[in-house]
Symmetry: C2
Subunit: 337 residues, 2 copies
Amino acid sequence: MSTAASTQIHLASRPEGWPTPENFRTVRVTLPELAPGQVRVANAFVSVDPYMRGRMNEGRSYVAPYALGATITGGAVGRVLESAADAVPVGAVVLHQHGWSNVVQDDAATFQVIPELPGVPLSLRLHILGMTGLTAYVGLTRIASLQPGETVFVSGAAGAVGSAVGQLARLLGASRVIGSAGSAAKVALLTGKYGFDEAFNYHDGDVSELLTQAAPDGIDVYFDNVGGDHLTAALDAFNDGGRAALCGAISTYNAEGPVPGPDNMSNIVTRGLTLRGFTLGNHLDLAGEFQQRMAGWFAEGRIAYDETIVDGIEGTVEAFLAMMRGANVGKMLVRVG
Amino acid sequence: MSTAASTQIHLASRPEGWPTPENFRTVRVTLPELAPGQVRVANAFVSVDPYMRGRMNEGRSYVAPYALGATITGGAVGRVLESAADAVPVGAVVLHQHGWSNVVQDDAATFQVIPELPGVPLSLRLHILGMTGLTAYVGLTRIASLQPGETVFVSGAAGAVGSAVGQLARLLGASRVIGSAGSAAKVALLTGKYGFDEAFNYHDGDVSELLTQAAPDGIDVYFDNVGGDHLTAALDAFNDGGRAALCGAISTYNAEGPVPGPDNMSNIVTRGLTLRGFTLGNHLDLAGEFQQRMAGWFAEGRIAYDETIVDGIEGTVEAFLAMMRGANVGKMLVRVG
């Protein structure tokens, strides 16, 4: 038993509009010796995700707002360094929600031991084989009730969730998969590596017009990561009985005031549409089913992925801000020392 | 066999914004002798409904837009005057969609013979025991998946659909029913005759604040007849997992341009809400179940209703315009001849 140094990223102040480095503080602390029942974990990868922006605000969000002056919590994967709990032995790989630090210790019950999969990088447990993939799966199956033969549109399609949505939609039987992204390089990635039928760069014009060109026969399912004019475009493109899974609205996260909703909500009535929002915490009962199916698809080589990696826990804020600007391709992660 | 005079109300021009009498034309025609397979019907009551405003516009609506220079179609109930079809004999009571005229003739297949119910006025077959009641039933059961013990909010609650929603919600097990209406008299009607737990006049202040006062513990189901600030208020008041049945948005029907949607759409994600629109035509499979249950409740004296009646087919436009202004209590109807 010993003490240990930990570098943590704290929320220093609540962002107004776009976050800046000044909203965060890097803090070095000495962790005390483990108490009985605790474990100490060296993180391998730490996740930065769009939803975190919401938790930086005051008021009701996914869960409680982040506390000022405390480590920003979120998904991470690491290995047990020291243990005072038999169930979580030294050397075990664990998933946890302790967030933005390089070394963390807490009660063993707050860490989930996961089996190491031969040839599978640990980072994937934070995205395509983890919460990111599960988010795509829940949205398509439970929330949007995707049926074989349908046309699916996903926004933010080159992002972590979006690229999983496009591939899972195909594997679940969609006949046509359309994505939007914010650069020509990302569009090429979508129609190439990720096998989308159509993709467009939303900077190239009016999103409704671009979507109509990409989906002349309309869409049945929309997986929304973006909100704003993308949701409006989807409401115009929906066939009767269309369903939207609303996962997030990165276009609005940094707005300093209320953002007006789509100006074509009347389509919801006339076309019999369903808009359903979700956060993953209410749908973890699908995790087992997802892991089984996804492991099979992954083993068959049917799942592509990208990662954008920033090295060092001190780069976490930079990684988060770059992800909010859309600088990442695939999952944005911090690789810890 | 003989010819017959018919007075019809035609759409003369498409309204821009609020409709005016000049958008309509009263036309007197002579109907020819019946062809084989046709019947002639003298209407008893003709329905004027909010959705008709949508069909007066060009472009995609519930169904095709109304044709210019033709009778405005919609629900009506009448009695067969002459018949050249065995299945629809003289004297039978029929429901049909031929709309705004006093006498109509067409193929027998376009008329639905319904049994006369002792002591039940024919007018009710156009509302509480007809499409209006079915609309409320479909919205609460299939669209919003109302569960016993939940809190229901309905806007436009003193209207035809709204007053049915409030009563059916209670009969289906809601623990608390809240309504909004546009006058103090209507509010008194809601909490009196219709048995709502709470009601408010939306002219009395900010709708979100009024709803929060009426539903301090939040709402689970919202039946939307109004749209606009009522939908925004509901999104703020929803408990996690709340569901909205979007039936119409009378607040927006006469807008001359696009109407921005709610500025709090993010609640859909964070609270896991579902917004689902519907038009009755896709849910007529529930008609049998509805009629059976509703007839039972009605016979037990558990259903109250109101009608606002305008006399004479020439008064149809006046009735429609008054309904759009909210001048009616309960179902607005035209009593013919």
